[in-house]
Symmetry: D2
Subunit: 369 residues, 4 copies
């Protein structure tokens, strides 16, 4: 059985791989020596361009890494390794490349208009599930700020299972969250579900969120990748980590927008929680990608009194931040009330998180010894 199962899996991937070779081939990464000159780098780029390949240049802290995109079969015989200034040329067996840790060994720090994500700090994004009006989002911004959040969350376009459910306030909501965030000197993260709304959402927000249902809406991924805004990419409802990394690649390949992964729980048989919060995703993403990852304990559990413990666990797992749902009056929230924190429970959680963030700093110092 195992034998046959593995054989079957091999066949499946063989099939895809063979196809890829026919059309595109495995991608190639050229790692330049730390001492490589600008001219040596340029020579490699020109050689690749001559072979019809596009080149993405990644200037790391120590050395330059070049990503070759296109049909790299044409350069299989080219001895890039023998070029001056080239340390190594490796073919990537992953189906993602620009997202991979190999391509970019250093952590990518995402700069959200001054707020840094991925630099070792722990950034909190807080706010209501849905923007319900200017008063509500203002109160939420005040609450969020009081607890220490730097980024305000809130949905103006809501993906709803039923077409008859509340679909969000639309542009009016976007204006309200922008105004509330500005009043409290916060940044804005909000979701876009429709390619036609991207410009509008980009105009009002600092991070564009792709929701779980759209993790493999490839057209939308490519489109938001052109905005240059940081993209908060939620894991799909039953997305594998491999699919998630490949989804990020659809954004990364556009070459403009950095990515923030958001773990929000996966669909399993367990009904005690809304989703099963898969915190192992944090160290796995950090191992395979250079982009930061934050956690969403609200959707990850679906139950307000589990949010605090799982936020703490998120910090300790090594996440770069979190996104949580708060509401001044959860019982009367228009959506997601059962998983929203009120002011008291939110502020309590943030105090606990702060203690753990300090502990994690000590742990990171351990590591560097």
């Amino acid at each position: 059985m195992d034998g046959s199962k593995n054989a079957n899996r091999r066949n499946l991937s063989a099939c895809i791989e063979r196809k890829d070779q026919k059309i595109g081939g495995k991608e190639m990464i050229i790692i330049m020596k730390p001492t490589a000159t600008e001219k040596e780098i340029q020579t490699v780029i020109e050689r690749a361009n001559d072979n019809g390949l596009e080149v993405q240049v990644n200037t790391g802290s120590a050395q330059v890494v070049l990503g070759l995109i296109g049909d790299t079969r044409s350069v299989q015989d080219v001895a890039f390794k023998s070029y001056d200034g080239v340390e190594d040329a490796v073919r990537i067996t992953n189906t993602y490349k620009l997202t991979s840790r190999e391509f970019h060994p250093d952590d990518t720090v995402v700069d959200v208009d001054g707020v840094k994500i991925g630099d070792g700090s722990f950034v909190t994004m807080a706010g209501p599930c849905s923007i319900e009006g200017l008063d509500q989002i203002r109160i939420c911004a005040e609450m969020a700020k009081k607890g220490g959040a730097k980024i305000l969350r809130g949905g103006a376009f809501k993906p709803r299972t039923s077409p008859y459910a509340f679909q969000g306030l639309g542009e009016e909501g976007l204006k309200q969250i922008r105004q509330a965030a500005d009043e409290y000197d916060m940044k804005v993260i909000t979701e876009v579900m429709d390619e036609g709304h991207i410009d509008m959402v980009a105009a009002y927000s600092d991070i564009i969120q792709i929701g779980a249902r759209n993790m493999q809406n490839f057209k939308l991924l490519s489109a938001v990748g052109k905005t240059g805004k940081p993209i908060g990419l939620k894991r799909g409802i039953s997305g594998t980590i491999s699919e998630w990394l490949n989804a990020a690649e659809y954004i990364a390949v556009e070459g403009k927008s950095p990515i923030i992964f958001i773990e929000r729980g996966i669909r399993t048989y367990e009904t005690a929680t809304r989703n099963t919060f898969d915190l192992s995703a944090v160290p796995i993403i950090k191992k395979f990608s250079h982009f930061p990852i934050i956690v969403d304990p609200s959707h990850g559990t679906g139950v307000w009194d589990l949010v605090g413990p799982m936020a703490r666990a998120g910090v300790a797992s090594g996440a770069d931040g979190m996104i949580v749902e708060i509401h001044p009056d959860p019982k009367n929230a228009w959506s997601d009330g059962p998983q929203s924190l009120n002011e008291k429970t939110y502020v309590q959680m943030m105090k606990e998180v702060e203690i753990l963030v300090d502990a994690m700093k000590k742990i990171r110092q351990l590591e560097t010894i």
Copy 2:
């Protein structure tokens, strides 16, 4: 635990429900008496319109059923039941309505340019995963026809996990599948993934397919619902049956396109098959909806020698048809080779299916006795 879990679930749905009541309210269905006159029906419609509600009219074999869409709170006090010609007025507790069996007690038969789906026959759609060129799709059409398929499948736009994988031939592929189908007097089903391509895809195909990854791409659902073409709606990779019915409602609410549900397996822990083929979905969909359902044993199993047995099981479960992947040379297919049937195995399967289709006719006669 159970107590609290249920309480939690109740809270979740209570939250959504309360919100719905605030914004829209539960929907209402008015069942007219078989003897109701046109005028009586018109009076009810006008009364609903006066209250700001849109009305969808369903003319069944025995009686007219009206679906009231909008904020039905305004008509809570209106005694529709006392109107002449009204048999009953019921509020729907489902979040879907036009898709529900209550709204349309008879089976809906989808007419695909002369080929009927849902009328008790068993319709086969066959073809390659990807359109690879005119020659290939022609050979596939010949094979498909030979086995008895009436509809030709084939992808011109392929959703691929990796941005570097083959994405399909695009419009060129659409032209090729249309030409091949016409030569063999077949109909065409093909997938659309991008709202911007809907008109193009509709121009070349008879059924528009929504793929598993897009089951909850609500924007795309609404857009295809406006075409008037039958929509083949695949179940999401981890879609619940309830979510699937609600996704159909996004199409149905546009009022133009009939729906064909396509069961294609769900994501589970089992790795012996690509997906776990959930045939129970067939009688469940038939219980809760009036639209037909077909099965996809190719994606449902992912292994070619399981396709035949599962196609047979699909017939016996009561499905209205199936969609299968065939290829003249599966080992060299550009995608999904391991789950594709070659001519010999496909023709063998179709003979077996025919025997079971006959058996199911006998069984349906039993039922009517």
Copy 3:
């Protein structure tokens, strides 16, 4: 990611495999030529015994196959293939062997005191979830017989999630089901959960059932394997097919009891059904093992009006039989009422099943042409 995932999987299996080599090694199967003499067979057996290996002899319809159990490293250099009468010597990479189709290419037909399972017929086992008393089990036997079932099911020991729930009537129940079955000339299948009860259960039943929760209760598997009674082995609640085959091997290795696999649905995220009925397991088990497999549409769905359609699908998938729950008054059953058929729905289902069994006979004749 994929690369690393596969590497990780390889490591896991490498680890187990290396360990197995240290302790036991891969198992070996010697396939004798159809023309091999008794003496030639004996020579091979003695040679294996000399190397400290136990030998299981399987006398197939065409040829003898020998299974070598123990540390086969010692015979790695022995050229069994060069022995007279030996057709081939193969090392099994599966972790199961006696259960495998390679070891026993013909179908094993299980003889339940005259009732054959696995010979191309379709055998029905029917009865209540729990034995509730002599009257109830007698009525059930009468119902079961009326519909055409040859084997009576019913639990005297019930595995219950809570220690306070009804645990079954024990030996009293066993006596009652035996008496009822005898009165209606039926055989008995009933579950054993406790090693200490095996002799008692064996005394009253014709097939001993291992429940889903005990699929990997290895001690119990070994113990029932010593009884010589046919064992009905239910798939675990979240058992993989590979684990299930290996669980069967624990029974098979005792060398006495034939096995009947019972597919009863697996645990997934879907809540519309009690379990997700995985009918693909039928052709997979038939591919990898020679033992028969039956299906349990009652537990597979958990909803009475899905049982009929899924029983039909089970026949069409190629199963050798089924086990279903019936009750004279499901609403007042002590357990599993919602998934039990009453007399009318059960008899209707059996008529439908009969039509499909006839159809499958025609299909099998097709195959042999």
Copy 4:
């Protein structure tokens, strides 16, 4: 759909509940006033005994709570609430009772021969997957102790998917782990799989472990519950939290052995990890039960470099300890090598864990303010 799904669930639980009422009824808990006298308590106990009920007495820090076991229908009319010294009498709707937080509002601290689990400290159990010999287990004990573990783990009886895999050293292994633990002043936790081995395992160990495959081996649960030793109860491979609490009840109802829950990951579709580590289980178990819970990041992830981050997350989630696999030479471990830490990675993890344990102490002080 949702309506029908819930109706179906209601039916299922209604069925079980009705049955329970027939046989046993809902259980009852009598909460005595803090001021209740011994005589008042005795009166209640006698009244319950007179009605054929067994009484479990729980002497909490503030007040006595009585659990009534048996057919409490007989006392439905008895006005326990009116008895002197009685604060409240509540029927438990959970199917577990002695395990519930309602029955025992204070945390239960499990005393493992002087090592306290559940008192706010964080206890580490470390050791190899399998005991491979005295030298190996001694080296492991030394490593474990060096990192700060107080309890030595190691398997002498191994549940293995295949009957041909290494099954453990048996009693010889038990002697070795006991000797190694004594040399390093540690306690022993080891698994029992077979009722017949319980006395033997109890003789050598301080905590008896029930493995994931046996979570619902009800006979084994009852049997270990009679030993009086603390029981480490692993969550089943796909066990729900509700089933897990009920499994604990099978032990608790024997009235002798305290329970330590062990979260070890659940089976999901994700293959990047061996299991999906469900840390939300920690605060849920603490909410619904008074018994301590520890985490197993080794099985929870299956990958050694994820063990450290998930151990940290476990501390932060509020767990009372952890159990981890270590090995002097993981590459050559007889089992579970890929998930085992070597000395360097284990000691590093323990330093990190210590920093987080200190942080959690600060957090607990916050809570008490």
